[in-house]
Symmetry: none
Subunit: 224 residues, 2 copies
């Protein structure tokens, strides 16, 4: 299973904020809120949400402005952005879609439809074949062969990467030294026991983070 998705909602009407937040949380999403455009940009940068729902009509920076600003930054080029607005104003709706939003939701909010749309967006995103493990601030992208911790890319050598990816594929599970050898080195190759330790060491060193626990006499496990 992939990790919990973060959703940022920006709207100046507290009622709407609450309705959406409630429904999305009930669906298992992690929700962050913002009461205006500037706060939305702030929160977006801080939390790097997977989906951003922007009300178009907001005091100060409106939703379209926010979208434009965010889309300029690489971190938000590929994120999902959805607009929210009153059914009536057709003009802004069009501008919204042209700006590079991924969908459009009209008020009044119909919770079930909201949730369906959100689910559909994520489903579509996942189809794009993402191979990313995420646990907290740690992202392991098996396609890009990149580890990212708190926004910084960390480069691991092949064996190191594969070892970490294996352990992180089932957080909490203790992998026996044998399992590790089979999965990472294959059944053909025979290497000494210390070899694993050395690789574990290098991972721990490069990721300045205590995420691999030794279970003495058994093996290693990944956890935060």
């Amino acid at each position: 299973m992939s990790s919990v998705k973060k959703i940022l909602i920006a709207d100046d009407e507290p009622d709407i904020l609450e309705i959406i937040q409630f429904n999305l949380q009930a669906e298992g999403y992690e929700v962050i809120t913002a009461k205006n455009g500037d706060e939305a940009i702030d929160q977006a940068k801080r939390h790097l949400p997977d989906l951003i729902i922007l009300d178009i009509m907001m005091p100060g920076k409106n939703g379209i402005d926010v979208c434009n600003i965010l889309r300029m930054q690489p971190a938000f080029k590929e994120k999902l952005i959805v607009f929210l607005s009153a059914l009536s104003d057709e003009g802004t709706e069009i501008r919204g879609l042209e700006t590079g939003a991924d969908d459009y939701i009209t008020k009044p909010i119909r919770p079930k439809i909201l949730i369906s749309k959100v689910n559909a967006l994520f489903r579509r995103l996942n189809k794009e074949g993402n191979n990313i493990l995420q646990h907290g601030d740690l992202k392991i992208d098996r396609e890009k062969y990149i580890i990212n911790y708190q926004g910084n890319d960390i480069i691991l050598a092949r064996k190191e990467f594969e070892l970490l990816a294996l352990l992180a594929s089932k957080p909490g599970k203790v992998f026996l030294r044998n399992e590790i050898l089979n999965q990472v080195w294959g059944t053909e190759v025979i290497v000494g026991d210390r070899t694993i330790d050395v690789h574990i060491r290098k991972i721990r060193q490069k990721l300045d983070l205590d995420c691999i626990t030794t279970v003495k006499g058994v093996g290693y496990k990944f956890e935060l």
Copy 2:
């Protein structure tokens, strides 16, 4: 520019069919129509449209049925499918999205919004496999076999071009040497391993730009 997109519209109400057809054609799309579900499936198979707009309420097979049937076939797994229905019936709307539709348009049709949505859908789709790849100052025109960097055309030989185009088709993704061989050279041909390196070298040389990263023991990736 990429090729003209084909759109199939299925609705049992001739008026609506005509409105949509007129507007989309005015926007430069190629339009195919169907008056019911069976005809829609027929036309879809014949023309392989890029986008299918299905009215939910149709005599015989309804839109959801059609969607389900088409989605079963590999050729339509990745195509865009959009539902069309009266604003009122919330239940079917949800079922529609759960079925695997990409969006939802409510009647009455508002032409401008319809067009914006359609454009937005294609824009999103084009982010992936298009004929013109653009990343920063680098343009890769797969149709014309031309690379343009900061306004200057750069001439690459065919293999060089195809190799770069492949890597750039998924920025960040690491392509294994095997993948590269299969995609650029085909499965029949067998060439030595150094061949890839040499082509990579020539690309790096001609594009005075550090955009190809070596991932040792794994492959190469494109990124800025």
